[in-house]
């Protein structure tokens, strides 16, 4: 009834990996753009904007990703909005990543000492020039390690999409395991594929850090 692990099983896992990769790309790009908006909102002048951005971060960070996906997939269905699994999982991951990235970047921005702003002003630079030439380059350098650390987590968190019926890498591994009953082989391969997806991110981060740190 069950068979040895073969190329068909491997192909199925790779198919799952493609979906995992796609979800991760959606989460990273969408979360990055929205996260930037959140970070700017958190340090903006008008207090209602700061309050709104802060509330967004609190609510999303306080909600498990699992629940966000449940709401996006099943909850909206009850309101009559039926999103396909990919869209629902994508929306939930983007909202989730944006809250965390926004908060990480706000912290990095505020970690640049106030004296740097003042020094810029003393040199007669305009506020925008202070940001572009002095504060942001320093903030970006601080931001690289925590950002990449979080992105690696996002790649792994895509596995939660299996609850909305999405056959990504982790679910594919489960199905293949139930077809072959060879858990060690099967999940070792799944772990290997996750590593191959995450490792380039880490390498890229190291390269970026080297480039950003003045010699």
């Amino acid at each position: 009834m069950t068979g040895e692990f073969n190329l068909f099983h491997a192909g199925y896992l790779l198919q799952g990996a493609v979906w995992t990769l796609l979800l991760a790309v959606i989460a990273i790009l969408g979360g990055g753009v929205l996260g930037l908006v959140v970070a700017i909102g958190r340090v903006a002048r008008p207090w209602p904007v700061r309050l709104l951005a802060g509330a967004y971060v609190q609510v999303i960070q306080g909600t498990p990703l699992l629940i966000l996906m449940f709401i996006a997939f099943f909850g909206l269905s009850i309101l009559g909005i039926t999103l396909p699994a990919l869209v629902a999982a994508g929306v939930a991951l983007v909202l989730y990543s944006a809250a965390f990235l926004g908060e990480i970047w706000r912290g990095c921005f505020q970690a640049v000492p106030q004296a740097q702003h003042e020094a810029g002003a003393a040199l007669g630079l305009r506020p925008f020039a202070i940001l572009r030439l002095i504060v942001l380059p320093q903030a970006v350098r601080i931001a690289v390690p925590p950002t990449v650390g979080f992105l690696v987590q996002v790649v792994k968190n895509t596995s939660i999409a299996s609850i909305v019926g999405f056959t990504e890498l982790a679910r594919a591994g489960q199905i293949v395991n139930n077809a072959t009953f060879q858990p060690f082989l099967c999940f070792t391969i799944v772990a290997g594929i996750y590593f191959l997806l995450c490792y380039p991110l880490s390498c890229w981060a190291r390269a970026l850090e080297r480039r950003l740190v003045p010699a």
Binding site: M1, T2, A55, G80, G165, T167, N178
Partner: protein
């Protein structure tokens, strides 16, 4: 979380989109809709051997796969398979992500409160298997033993309800993991379906397990949404016909090595 006006807009949009959704759900009924759309969306779990699984070429196989194929052949529309896990079958049905569920969907009172079932077309026995040398005839004899079970299954429910004090339940995430644990000799007792005990013994050749006692038979049926009398009537008729002509029995025997239990045959004759 959101700006008041945006939330208002979202609610309005939801109401506008929801209204036609409700109308659509009422008329035409699900059976008419299936015939009009020329397809039926059947939810199945393909990670639950030997009911639903993948073969060597990663093609779906198993008793529920054959059952669904028989159903669509008799209904005369193509099958659209919807992947579910045992945990999200009810939400998929309630949110109209599938038309019916054919996935070892045990008929329980809790589920009946929110969804509807056809009459049962098969049943899964929930047994406790153990070492042939031990005399275990019922729950009382399990005291002091370690028993493996797959988390959240009907087996888990029955075992948890029945065991005496001092019994240790070892729960695993899915059948494959439970089987590996038992096959590798980490646990010598296993609460499961009879078909899986063969799987275990194929790989546990030195100390095979045998069925010690049956906890319960769980009849399962085709799951559908409530308020669909036409579809329910069609499904009930379909089960009766195919129990009577032996086709469902043949499918069950092919994957489980035994015939349909009496309660299923009786329900179909009633």
């Amino acid at each position: 979380m959101t700006h008041p006006t945006r939330r208002a807009a979202l609610l309005t949009a939801g109401a506008l989109l929801g209204a036609p959704g409700l109308v659509r759900a009422q008329a035409p009924d699900a059976l008419a809709r299936v015939r009009r759309d020329g397809r039926i969306r059947i939810a199945m779990d393909l990670g639950a051997p030997p009911f639903g699984m993948m073969d060597n070429r990663m093609q779906p196989t198993g008793s529920e796969v054959d059952t669904a194929n028989l159903l669509v052949a008799d209904l005369g529309v193509p099958l659209e398979r919807v992947a579910v896990t045992s945990a999200n079958r009810v939400p998929f049905l309630l949110t109209d992500r599938c038309d019916v569920v054919v996935s070892v969907f045990g008929i329980t009172e809790e589920r009946r409160r929110v969804i509807d079932f056809s009459i049962p077309y098969a049943a899964v026995a929930s047994v406790v298997a153990g070492l042939p040398a031990d005399t275990v005839r019922g729950f009382a004899d399990l005291a002091g033993k370690r028993i493996a079970v797959t988390r959240g299954t009907t087996n888990d429910q029955e075992l948890t309800r029945g065991i005496p004090r001092g019994t240790e339940i070892v729960r695993f995430e899915d059948d494959a993991t439970s089987i590996t644990a038992v096959a590798s000799g980490q646990v010598d007792y296993f609460a499961t379906a009879p078909a899986l005990i063969e799987q275990v013994n194929q790989r546990r050749t030195n100390r095979p397990l045998e069925v010690k006692f049956t906890m319960r038979n769980f009849p399962y049926g085709v799951g559908l949404r409530q308020g669909e009398p036409a579809l329910k009537a069609w499904l009930d008729g379909w089960v009766r016909t195919n129990v009577a002509n032996g086709k469902l029995e043949e499918i069950f025997r092919r994957y489980h090595g035994l015939g349909l239990p009496p309660e299923v045959l009786e329900a179909a004759r009633a």
